[in-house]
């Protein structure tokens, strides 16, 4: 039973990270019906920027570590918000009225460009998250959890709650919802859809930066290709929850994390040794295929196919 709890915790941590990235996909899709394939690379950039700031500050300043961490995280978030804004400005806005395939292709192009920039700037070797947080380990019900994991789960929940409040309880959120329903009509009501789209990209970029730092802090080295797989998984999570639906992305992310962890943990027993844990990544994509075949609108999706 201890093993089961441990798998649950692992899945929750992984799922929280997926959910944060999935939000970026789903918000952009909700408003523009565009899959921003460069989003995984924004996550990677977030990890890289934070790492660079941490390494620079650790050497030179005598600031307390948690302040340095906050500063690194803050820089990464601001940078990725700017990056999200720039990506939209450069790669998507000029194609606002182009056929739907065109922005999809620039998205892939953007992703390749960002990967190569990261490779040039930070090199091909994996980079470590500096030893800045003293790791404390706790035991709950026989399962181990570290302070880093707790921080990941708590901050993911806080960020998601904040986002939910922003979308449902503020003027900006109302404008976002209106734009997602109909940009043309929203603009008749005095909302500038371009501003809303930019804001959406910035929020998505900020969340992705946080997720990137979490991946680097908990799972290990940052690398210029790390965004690709993360992006695909998070995209799967978004589709699982119903792409375009914010609550769906949160739920889909957590669910995908749990499916992966429990799946990789138990597949060996379930298939009587026929399949091994190297099929961990396969689960995510099996889920993607099953959802697309049987429920293309996702678990929470209420949006019908004519817009997608």
């Amino acid at each position: 039973m201890n093993e089961f709890y441990q798998h649950l915790i692992n899945g929750l941590v992984l799922g929280s990270i997926y959910a944060l990235i999935a939000l970026g996909y789903t918000m952009v899709y909700g408003i523009m019906q565009l899959i921003n394939f460069a989003h995984g690379e924004v996550t990677m950039m977030g990890a890289m920027i934070c790492l660079t700031v941490l390494n620079a500050m650790l050497g030179s300043s005598g600031m307390p570590h948690y302040l340095i961490l906050l500063l690194g995280m803050g820089t990464a978030v601001i940078f990725c918000m700017a990056l999200g804004f720039t990506i939209e400005r450069v790669a998507y806005r000029p194609l606002r009225n182009a056929p739907r395939l065109a922005p999809l292709i620039t998205a892939i192009g953007m992703s390749i460009v960002l990967q190569n920039i990261a490779m040039l700037m930070w090199g091909k070797r994996p980079l470590n998250f500096p030893d800045i947080i003293p790791i404390a380990r706790f035991e709950i019900l026989g399962a181990h959890i570290t302070n880093v994991q707790i921080v990941i789960i708590v901050s993911a929940v806080v960020l998601m709650l904040g986002l939910w409040l922003l979308i449902n309880r503020t003027r900006l959120g109302r404008a976002m919802r209106a734009t997602s329903q109909s940009p043309a009509l929203a603009s008749l009501m005095g909302i500038n859809p371009n501003t809303i789209i930019s804001v959406t990209f910035m929020i998505g970029g900020g969340l992705a930066a946080v997720a990137g730092v979490m991946v680097n802090a908990y799972y290990g080295p940052a690398h210029y290709t790390m965004g690709f797989m993360l992006g695909l998984k998070a995209f799967t999570a978004a589709v699982l929850g119903g792409i375009g639906n914010v609550a769906g992305a949160m739920f889909g992310g957590i669910l995908l994390g749990l499916i992966e962890s429990l799946g990789a943990g138990y597949i060996h027993k379930l298939t009587f040794g026929f399949m091994g844990s190297d099929y961990q990544d396969v689960f995510a994509f099996m889920v993607l295929i099953l959802i697309l075949v049987f429920r293309p609108s996702g678990l929470f999706g209420e949006r019908v196919g004519d817009r997608a």
């Binding site: 994996p126 380990r137 080295p221 990789a264 943990g265």
Partner: protein
């Protein structure tokens, strides 16, 4: 006017170039001029060029010494010449340069450096009947192909895996071992051998898990492993996964000793694993240089001529010596004549005593086990098979 001139110049230039290549090609047919050409292949450009240059220099040092000493084969004094080629650590390029060496009628080849390039090239040398001695390819598959022309002077992954498995049970006292590999040819190969050796030495493999060489989340497999509470966790793979794996292992409260092959025995591993990497045990084929029989002497000669040794230079040096030794015993530099003598080699080299088994693997297999202490790997134990 100028244009007309150019029009004339270009075909003439091209013709001249072609005829140059053609005629030099003709005259360069190696005649029996008392010069024996030996090929040396390694990546001389690209990210592994520092290893490649090292191998090439090791072979060159041997050739220079032989020429200075003067060698007589079949009653005639001969000179050796090293023909260096660059395979860029790329399997496709490896086959191209292998064919080039065959066309140049080299009498033998020292190389290649990587397993991935050595294996495809070995087919070409075998078809041409040329003796190949690799100084550093360790994949089991290389000598498993049944090519009589293929030898190596370095311990293979199977021997390494066996030593690691036995070490885990006998020296670390492990009763239960969990094994993870990354499903690559190297990782899977070495992990399978470790598994066999653990079982053969009386230990139990309590969990066998897999990941990929691009994964970053190992918590699921580690949780499964933890439920079997092993004494030792072995990982067959490279450092980009091996290092985060040990971190996640410690975070899950799994205190087992962490064991790895030469894929983890890198400075990058120490950098990436940090504190959690402390105490990791990883193997490396061969002896540490200061424990090689001729290590000290070789190191001095090499340092004076080329600077510091990377890793495999002594093996390349020995490979040349073994090849020439066989030629002298056969009284011929014809590969068909001296090939049987290579198989019968008994040579006391810099790296140790070299003799081959029926597959072409080196018999006396030395493996060194290192332990991570701070920012370096310290020799833990040398195991001679």
């Amino acid at each position: 006017m100028n244009i007309n001139k150019l029009r004339l110049v270009r075909p003439i230039a091209i013709f001249a170039l072609f005829s140059l290549v053609f005629f030099t090609g003709c005259t360069k047919q190696p005649a029996d001029d008392g010069v024996i050409r030996i090929g040396s292949v390694a990546p001389l450009t690209g990210s592994q060029s520092h290893y490649g240059k090292d191998n090439d220099n090791g072979a060159r040092l041997a050739i220079e010494e032989l020429n200075a000493k003067g060698v007589t084969i079949g009653g005639k004094p001969v000179k050796f010449e090293l023909v260096s080629e660059d395979d860029q650590a790329d399997p496709k390029t490896a086959t191209i340069v292998a064919q080039k060496l065959v066309d140049k009628q080299v009498k033998g080849v020292i190389g290649h450096l990587n397993s991935g390039t050595t294996i495809p090239a070995s087919k070409i040398y075998y078809d041409a009947g040329i003796v190949q001695i690799s100084p550093s390819a360790t994949a089991i598959a290389y000598t498993k192909q049944g090519f009589k022309s293929a030898f190596r002077v370095m311990t293979n992954d199977s021997q390494q895996g066996r030593v690691l498995g036995e070490f885990a049970v006998k020296k670390l006292g492990a009763k239960s071992v969990a094994i993870i590999d990354d499903r690559t040819a190297y990782g899977q190969g070495i992990a399978d051998e470790v598994e066999k050796a653990v079982v053969a030495s009386g230990g139990a493999v309590v969990s066998r898990q897999y990941t990929t060489d691009s994964s970053s989340d190992f918590t699921a497999i580690l949780t499964s492993i933890k439920s079997t509470s092993p004494d030792v966790v072995f990982y067959g793979g490279m450092d980009p996964q091996g290092a985060p794996l040990v971190k996640q292992m410690r975070n899950l409260g799994l205190a087992a000793t962490y064991l790895g092959g030469d894929g983890l025995n890198t400075l990058d591993y120490l950098r990436l694993a940090g504190k959690d990497g402390e105490g990791t045990v990883a193997s490396m084929p061969g002896l540490p240089i200061d424990q090689m029989p001729g290590g000290k002497n070789f190191q001095e000669k090499f340092n004076a001529r080329y600077g510091p040794i990377q890793v495999y230079a002594p093996y390349a040096y020995d490979a040349v010596m073994v090849m020439v030794d066989a030629m002298m015993r056969a009284n011929s530099a014809d590969p068909a004549m001296y090939l049987p003598e290579v198989a019968k080699t008994q040579y006391q080299g810099v790296t140790g005593n070299i003799a081959f088994d029926e597959k072409g693997d080196v018999k006396a297999a030395a493996i060194t086990l290192y332990q991570a202490k701070g920012d370096k790997w310290e020799v833990l134990e040398v195991i001679n098979e």
